[in-house]
C-alpha cells in the first residue's frame, strides 16, 4: 500500500508547498491528483518518488521509506516527469537501454522489454532514430516506455498525456494498465479533468498544499455539485428571484448573468417545474433550458474557487 502521512514541504525560501497531506492508495488503483497551478501537485509527486525530502511527515510504499532505503524504494517506481528529459543525440533504443542499466535489468530482459514496448507504442520503425528527431507525442510515448521498462509496482505519471493525440492517449492508458506489474498503483496528476474522470478510481483535489476532497469521481460530482441548469429568458426579472430559488432545498445556487439564469441543483427532473414556475412568477419567460450533469471540472472549480489552467 502507498501511505502518505501528514506530509509537509516547506522550501528554503519559505514557500509552504504542502501543509499536512495524508492519504493512502490501494493496490490496482488509479489515483488522480488534481488542482490548479501551484496547488502542490508536482511537489507531492516529487516527494512520492523521493527526489524531494519532506519537511515533516512520511511516505511509505509497501513499508519501504525513501529516506531509509532509497535504492529499494526507487526500484519499485516508474516515473514520467512533467518535463521529461532524454539524451537527445542518442537513439530511442540507447536511451531505453541505459535506463535498463540504471534499474539493473539483465541485458536480454532489457532488449526483450524494449522491443515489446516499442511494438505496442508503434515505435519499432523508429527505434534507431535519435530522440531529437521525434515529435512531442512520440517523445511522450518513449517516456512511458522508459517508465514501464522494469514493470514497476508504483507508477507515477505527471501530466502523462500532454501533447498527445486522442488515439495515442487511449493507447498510452491501455499500455500503462497492462505493462506495469500485476495490480499496479498508478498515481497521476493532470490538468485534463475529463481524462481524470474517465481513468481514475479515486481523485484527490488539492489546493494551496492542502487536501480539499478525496473520493471517487462520481461521488465527488454527486456530493459537491449535483447538476447544472442554464435558462435563457426574456424580460426583466423582479427583485429577489435568486433568493427565492435558493430557498428551494433542491437548489444549491442561482445566478443571473445578462439574460441567463445559471443554477446548480440536485435532481433536475424534480425541481425544474418548480424553477420555471418561480421564473414566471417573477416576470420572466424561459426561451431555452439546458440541463447537464455536473462534471469533475465543476467540482474543481467549486472546491478550489478558481479556473483550472
Amino acid at each position: 500500500m502507498l501511505e502518505i502521512c501528514e506530509l509537509v514541504k516547506t522550501y528554503p525560501n519559505g514557500t509552504q508547498a504542502l501543509r499536512g497531506l495524508s492519504f493512502s492508495v490501494e493496490p490496482g488503483e488509479v489515483f488522480g491528483i488534481l488542482g490548479p497551478n501551484g496547488a502542490g501537485k508536482t511537489t507531492l509527486l516529487k516527494l512520492m518518488v523521493g527526489v524531494l525530502t519532506p519537511t515533516s511527515g512520511w511516505i511509505s510504499l509497501d513499508g519501504v521509506n525513501p529516506q531509509n532505503s532509497p535504492i529499494s524504494f526507487r526500484k519499485l517506481l516508474g516515473v514520467v516527469h512533467q518535463f521529461g528529459s532524454f539524451d537527445l543525440t542518442l537513439s530511442i533504443w540507447d536511451n531505453l537501454n541505459i535506463y535498463g542499466a540504471f534499474h539493473g535489468l539483465p541485458k536480454h530482459e532489457t532488449s526483450r522489454r524494449i522491443n515489446h514496448l516499442l511494438e505496442r507504442l508503434d515505435l519499432v520503425a523508429k527505434k534507431h532514430e535519435p530522440i531529437e528527431n521525434l515529435s512531442g507525442g512520440q517523445r511522450r510515448k518513449v517516456q512511458i516506455a522508459r517508465a514501464l521498462l522494469h514493470r514497476p509496482k508504483f507508477l507515477f505519471l505527471d501530466e502523462p498525456t500532454t501533447g498527445v493525440d486522442v488515439y495515442s492517449r487511449k493507447q498510452i492508458w491501455d499500455i500503462v494498465r497492462e505493462e506495469a506489474s500485476p495490480a499496479p498503483y498508478i498515481i497521476f496528476t493532470s490538468h485534463n479533468v475529463d481524462e481524470a474522470e474517465k481513468q481514475c478510481d479515486r481523485v484527490l483535489i488539492i489546493n494551496q498544499g492542502t487536501s480539499i476532497a478525496l473520493d471517487t469521481p462520481q461521488r465527488l460530482i454527486d456530493s459537491i455539485i449535483g447538476h447544472r441548469i442554464e435558462i435563457r429568458f426574456e424580460g426583466q426579472p423582479a427583485d429577489g428571484l435568486e433568493q427565492t430559488l435558493e430557498a428551494n432545498p433542491l437548489v444549491y445556487s442561482a445566478e443571473i448573468h445578462n439574460s441567463t439564469l445559471r443554477l446548480r441543483v440536485e435532481a433536475p427532473s424534480k425541481c425544474l417545474p418548480q424553477i420555471l414556475e418561480c421564473c414566471s412568477q417573477h416576470g420572466i419567460a424561459a426561451t431555452s433550458v439546458v440541463t447537464r450533469s455536473a462534471s469533475l471540472e465543476d467540482v474543481l472549480l467549486k472546491s478550489t474557487g478558481r479556473e483550472l489552467n
Binding site: T53, P70, I71, I98, A101, F102, G104
Partner: protein, 261 residues
C-alpha cells in the same frame, strides 16, 4: 559479500559510465575534438616553446623541452576533460536529466563516482594518444614500464582534478557563474603550475598559488616518474591523499547541493 543495495549501487556506477561512453562515442564531433585538441596543443607548444627552450634541467637531468612538456600535456588534457564533465552535470540539472536519473535506483554517490570514472577513462584514452604522438612524431623515448606507471599516476591525477572541478561545481549555484569561475581557475592553475615550464620559472606573484594548487603536484608526480622513473614518497602520499580527499569532498558537496532536484 556485498549487500544487495551495495551491489545495486555498484551497478549504478557501471550504468552511469556506460551512459557517458555511449554519449561520447555516439557523437563523432566530440570524438574528433577530444582527440585533436590535446594533439594540437602538443604540436603548438612543442614546436614554438622548444625553440625558445631547447633543453630543460629537471632535478639535475638535462632533457629536451618536448620530453619535459609531454607530462604537462597529459595534465592539461585531464583539466579539459574534467571541466567538460563538471559542466555536463550542470547541463543535466538544467535539462532535468539529473531529475530523471535520480528517480531511478542510481543515487547521488553512484552518479558522481560514475561521472568521475568516465572522465578518467576518457582522459586516459587521450593520454595514450598523446604518448603515441610523442613517440611517433617527436621520437620521445619511453619504456613500457614507465608508460604503464605514468598511466597509473594519470588515473589518480584524473580523480584529483575531476574531484576538484566537481567540488567547485557543487559550490556554485548559477551555471554562468560556474563557467566564468572554471575558466578563470583553469587558466590560473594551468599557468601557475609546472605544466609548461620548470617551477622556478613561475612568476613570483603566482608561486604561492602554485604551492597550493593540486595541479602543481599532479604534474610534478607524472613528470618525475616519466623522466626519472620514480616519484618521491612524500609526493606520492600527497597524490593519494588528494585523490581520496577530492573524491569524498566532491561526493559530499554534490549530495548536499543536489539533495533535492
Amino acid at each position: 559479500m556485498f549487500s544487495s543495495e551495495a551491489a545495486i549501487a555498484l551497478k549504478g556506477v557501471g550504468a552511469v559510465i556506460y551512459r557517458e561512453m555511449r554519449l561520447f562515442f555516439g557523437n563523432k564531433a566530440t570524438i574528433v575534438l577530444s582527440v585533436m585538441t590535446p594533439l594540437i596543443y602538443m604540436l603548438l607548444f612543442s614546436t614554438s616553446l622548444s625553440k625558445m627552450m631547447p633543453m630543460v634541467n629537471y632535478n639535475g637531468v638535462s632533457v629536451s623541452y618536448i620530453e619535459f612538456v609531454l607530462p604537462g600535456h597529459l595534465v592539461m588534457s585531464v583539466l579539459s576533460t574534467a571541466l567538460m564533465t563538471s559542466q555536463s552535470v550542470f547541463n543535466e540539472k538544467i535539462s532535468n536529466m539529473l531529475l530523471e536519473i535520480l528517480s531511478t535506483p542510481v543515487q547521488h554517490k553512484a552518479y558522481m563516482i560514475g561521472k568521475m570514472f568516465a572522465s578518467t577513462s576518457l582522459a586516459l584514452i587521450q593520454s595514450m594518444l598523446i604518448f603515441l604522438c610523442g613517440i611517433l612524431v617527436f621520437r620521445v623515448p619511453l619504456s613500457f614500464v614507465r608508460f604503464l606507471g605514468v598511466l597509473a599516476l594519470n588515473t589518480l591525477v584524473c580523480v584529483i582534478i575531476s574531484g576538484f572541478y566537481m567540488t567547485v561545481m557543487g559550490l556554485v549555484k548559477q551555471f554562468r557563474t560556474f563557467i566564468m569561475t572554471a575558466n578563470i581557475l583553469t587558466n590560473v592553475i594551468m599557468f601557475a603550475s609546472s605544466i609548461f615550464y620548470p617551477a622556478e620559472q613561475i612568476a613570483p606573484g603566482l608561486r604561492l598559488f602554485a604551492k597550493i594548487s593540486p595541479v602543481t603536484y599532479c604534474s610534478d608526480a607524472i613528470r618525475s616518474f616519466f623522466l626519472l622513473g620514480n616519484v618521491p614518497r612524500l609526493l606520492m602520499l600527497l597524490i593519494i591523499g588528494l585523490a581520496v580527499c577530492f573524491t569524498v569532498t566532491s561526493v559530499t558537496v554534490f549530495r548536499k547541493r543536489f539533495a533535492e532536484v
